[in-house]
Homo-oligomer: 306 residues x 2
């Protein structure tokens, strides 16, 4: 098999599971992660280091990390909203910790009750902790609301690039851009990732696109066109209907992999096995709807990709 | 308002209505078309000239054409599967007649019981009839299954370009490419439309994309990138769920217009009025599901496009 040209970063076990009401039992989480690994996914965001009273769905995150670490060759990632969460994530042994920083000043205050500048200092503290305690671990920042904000509306592109630069300077290894609100369009995606890559070089990170208004895959294509090679996605679009409003609306992993593989851009992911990974997801969250047009339509006649 | 840079060709009243079981009453069709015109759509495929015993939904097509012609400035288009249908379409006074020609040899035999070469002769006959009787009318060919076929699987790109050349030589004014089966991907779309435009020049026509596997908008973006400026779409994705299998899966007009307008590519279409055109559609087809992610999510905060 051709070595993968792009990296699909599966965020379902974190982004998806923390967006649904039900809590998936730990054993089911582990089986699901095993199935994701078996499908060829090489980076998985397995959970969130947040207080269990706030997000009971993530109470077992350390155990989930421990299990994920038994799979050789994959990058085990977890979200931490602050230094305390990052301490726990590093203690659990993650390979990569990701911090959300809002590009929108209004969203930052509403979401984490901190200014954007205060969040940059949090990133700096996490990077310093990492340097001291776990120098091999990567610190990633996902710049949320980078393409627009439901509170303040437009987010200036200069603000996004300024903040990305501050995060990189504070010690982040990768800074990605997230379309938290489903407001991105392909022209904007091309402009912003082009600037991000010019500004940050190798530290320019993933495209995290939502499908709120149906543009998720078009925006991923646009990001690919300007050199992005890491794409976040969620199996089954878990965490809310990606085809409806008020939902997390993550790009569906199955559809994203289908698009790139159909284009002969290798992902390292086996689509049949990826679709098989829907079963343990559904088993662990009975009754929770999952989505995906490629799973519903099936692979086209003559499909031969690994 | 900036003059439109692209043309959205609304196919719902033909492609959509002939794909649903119910027959929309004529008065409702006329109200719906009026609403589409009011939204700024400048080309509408209003019906199909086929025997009423085969498609009772289209029995009133001549009356619908007559009404559509009362709107100044729009292009009234109808489908004709053969010379007889084209005669009726020309007699009704359409501005443009569109003929479906299968790029797949197997699909051609299954669909119209004619070889592809025989269909090219049908195109020639229609073009000659037009020359004799209605020299201002445009003859369009939509090359169906141009990106893959559910019967024969792959369709050779050389076949598509060869057939497009034959159709143009036979007198077609425009030859577009249709992803009838939802098998297209953006790389293939770019390759084929690039070749089509090199081969046919100004006769290279519309992109008719389906959303069967979620790639509809990404494929339209890809077509735009290589110079395509006319895009077929269906209001509400009428004619079957564009997010499910076994359906016509037309690209949803509302989502397509949203994408281009968000990119500052002018369509001439007012999105608010376009969404208002869903009401007469639903009134005329009670209980028929319609789709669209932008209508469901609503326009983003701060949306100011005309």
């Amino acid at each position: 098999m051709t070595p993968p040209e792009i990296l699909i970063s599966e965020v379902g076990p974190r982004d998806g599971l923390q967006s649904v009401q039900a809590t998936m039992p730990t054993a089911d989480k582990l089986r699901w992660i095993d199935a994701l690994v078996a499908a060829g996914l090489r980076e998985i965001e397995v959970g969130s280091f947040v207080p269990a009273r706030l997000l009971p769905q993530m109470a077992d995150v350390a155990e989930v990390v421990r299990h994920a670490l038994t799979h050789p060759g994959i990058t085990v990632m977890a979200l931490a909203p602050n230094l305390r969460g990052a301490e726990a994530a590093l203690a659990a042994g993650v390979h990569k910790v990701t911090l959300p920083v809002s590009a929108s000043a209004a969203h930052s205050l509403a979401n984490v009750r901190k200014t954007r500048e205060a969040m940059v200092e949090e990133v700096r503290a996490v990077a310093q902790l990492r340097d001291a305690q776990a120098p091999g671990v990567l610190v990633e920042v996902g710049l949320s609301t980078a393409f627009g904000c439901t509170i303040q509306g437009t987010v200036a592109e200069d603000d996004v690039i300024w903040l990305a630069g501050l995060c990189a300077e504070a010690g982040a290894d990768e800074v990605g851009l997230s379309d938290t609100t489903g407001m991105a369009n392909p022209a904007q995606v091309r402009r912003l990732f082009t600037r991000l890559r010019a500004e940050l070089g190798a530290k320019a990170g993933a495209a995290h696109m939502h499908n709120t208004r149906g543009l998720g895959l078009a925006n991923c294509l646009a990001a690919y066109d300007v050199g992005v090679r890491t794409f976040d996605a969620s199996l089954g679009g878990l965490g809310g209907c990606p085809y409806a409003p008020g939902a997390s609306g993550n790009v569906v992993t199955e559809d994203l992999v289908f698009m790139f593989e159909a284009m002969d851009i290798t992902t390292g992911v086996d689509l049949e096995r990826l679709m098989a990974a829907r079963a343990p997801l559904q088993a662990g969250l009975p009754g929770e709807p999952i989505y995906g047009m490629t799973p519903e339509a099936g692979l086209p006649k003559g499909w031969t990709k690994a």
